[in-house]
Symmetry: C2
Subunit: 354 residues, 2 copies
Amino acid sequence: MSNEHQGALAERVSEPVIPQEVAKDISLLEQQFIRAEVEQLRQSVLSFRPLFEKRAKIIAHPEVASNFWLRVLSNAPADIDEYISSSDAAILGSALKSLNVERFELDEKGQGEPRSIRFTFEFATGDANPFFENEKLVKEFYWRKQVLTTPSGKKRTWDGLVSEPVRINWKKDMDITKGLLDAACDLFEAEKKGGDRKELPEAKNLVGKLAEVEALEEEEEDEDDEYPSQTPGSSFFNFFGYRGSDVTAEHSATATKEENERFEKILKGENVEDDEADDDEEVDDDFDTFEVFPDGGELAIALAEDLWPNALKYYVQSFEEVPDFDEDDLEEGDESDDENDEDEASRPRKKTKV
Amino acid sequence: MSNEHQGALAERVSEPVIPQEVAKDISLLEQQFIRAEVEQLRQSVLSFRPLFEKRAKIIAHPEVASNFWLRVLSNAPADIDEYISSSDAAILGSALKSLNVERFELDEKGQGEPRSIRFTFEFATGDANPFFENEKLVKEFYWRKQVLTTPSGKKRTWDGLVSEPVRINWKKDMDITKGLLDAACDLFEAEKKGGDRKELPEAKNLVGKLAEVEALEEEEEDEDDEYPSQTPGSSFFNFFGYRGSDVTAEHSATATKEENERFEKILKGENVEDDEADDDEEVDDDFDTFEVFPDGGELAIALAEDLWPNALKYYVQSFEEVPDFDEDDLEEGDESDDENDEDEASRPRKKTKV
């Protein structure tokens, strides 16, 4: 599921003492695990769809709809919660109307890529949303595969989620991303018109904005010790600027086809050319330099695999929260409360923010 | 999956403004989600079994077997890693030979409870294990359901993992649990012989040991700021003492049957008696007082749903770790390293300990 560099594993593992044959078996079995996981996801998406439709009907009830996603987000686990700052929460709290998650490349017969994800955020409009004009923000993530070539001509496979930046029409002085998201969109649009990315003025502008935000983060770092994983200068709304990489659908299809053929050959016991690169060999890829939300792929997966299927659970839990939670209770709680204390303690408590 | 108090949800949700009918729909849909998740787990366990068997053969190769589970454990995610102290790691690092996880109540045809889990830890023996005599530690967790009655006669349903304590035959002065695990086993054995738990001298002894360890924790609390979630006085080996609750198989079967019948009636649109308790109403349950590893159920689920299926991935990742990771690199890293830095930073780094 994660966008790791695959392929160079066999060599890696074999480095210390592991025989080449065993390393190859490990590499092949890893592929088989990934394929089984994708199949499982495919079945899971299909079997849960009717329940999500039922849920959509129930949460459309006005008393529930008014704060369903706020309550869900306020109970999200740490690996989602850490990306939502108090300023983000203020925006989401007052303007978010609904969220929908679709595995849009998977059709009703179960054909297609189940790992591609579409998020549709709906917002209040007019005066009800003092922050931006958009009634809807649609962010699509495509699962793509890519074969990169190292300087020595060896190959490295990358796969993961890629996406196009989505612009937000901020109202005056309301841009919480401090121009970062706009800069990412500007660069993307300039690239589409052609030209080398590195040479574009929009690229220079984006790198400058990134440096500004980084400086701001360092400045604010000491002020917010309570939630150390949250980077104060950045915003959840930069998620809409995530790109991941710029693998086209065509390149991805070719890479996938090649890998499938290679996999089939290995399964049949045929010899395949071993031209995979070591991890030591760098691939010239400047993409990360222009990334405004480096963890976008991981957050998309966490939202789609955890927040979305468990939303009803998080909603119900939001009513079970202790309203005035006292830090001191944790320290001096007696043994009989240990289990509950642990649950409370293992998650950042920001329940008041949305 | 989690052992929460179910059932009282409808009332909870309805408390502020949500109409009773909508609250009932939410409660029913929650049940349907849980049932769908169990079905998915059932299918997943069946379809992954052949891959786990293949993996067992590959990792039996001597060069891999020598440190497979150590490498896996050293790359475990935070929600597992936090329970393994450096002293635990020293024991596991030198004595653990293998680990096996079985959904032992699920047969080959897919019949039975897929949530019950058996862990089999195999250890070195004789001088190769200076810590304890056991060649094998088998810890079985049963998924059980229970109907508790509140003082006012209302009902509350609990379900989750229950288990019997497993004794470890520590070598002289080697008991890392400081007598806690022994005390849990002593109490359990005394209970089996009959008598009220609260009146047994073994209960008093266990509560005393728990207080000792708690005092030790408070003492050591300031010394280890780097991994705040790890409680210094406690040990992973107390996991073998986890009990959860004392629901018998018979009680669980009755409660499950009753709940299924209730669920079927609701699905058919029939009226069912609404005798579920509010969350405010306490059930007299002293069980937590005698629990030596309160998070045992959650850790069992994390080990079975994450560590076990992803073991090969964690093993391969263990070769990709930067050997001498420098904290300073994190602070001053340039943008192009952001993604890797984040990955590193989001997980406790205790790679050297096993």
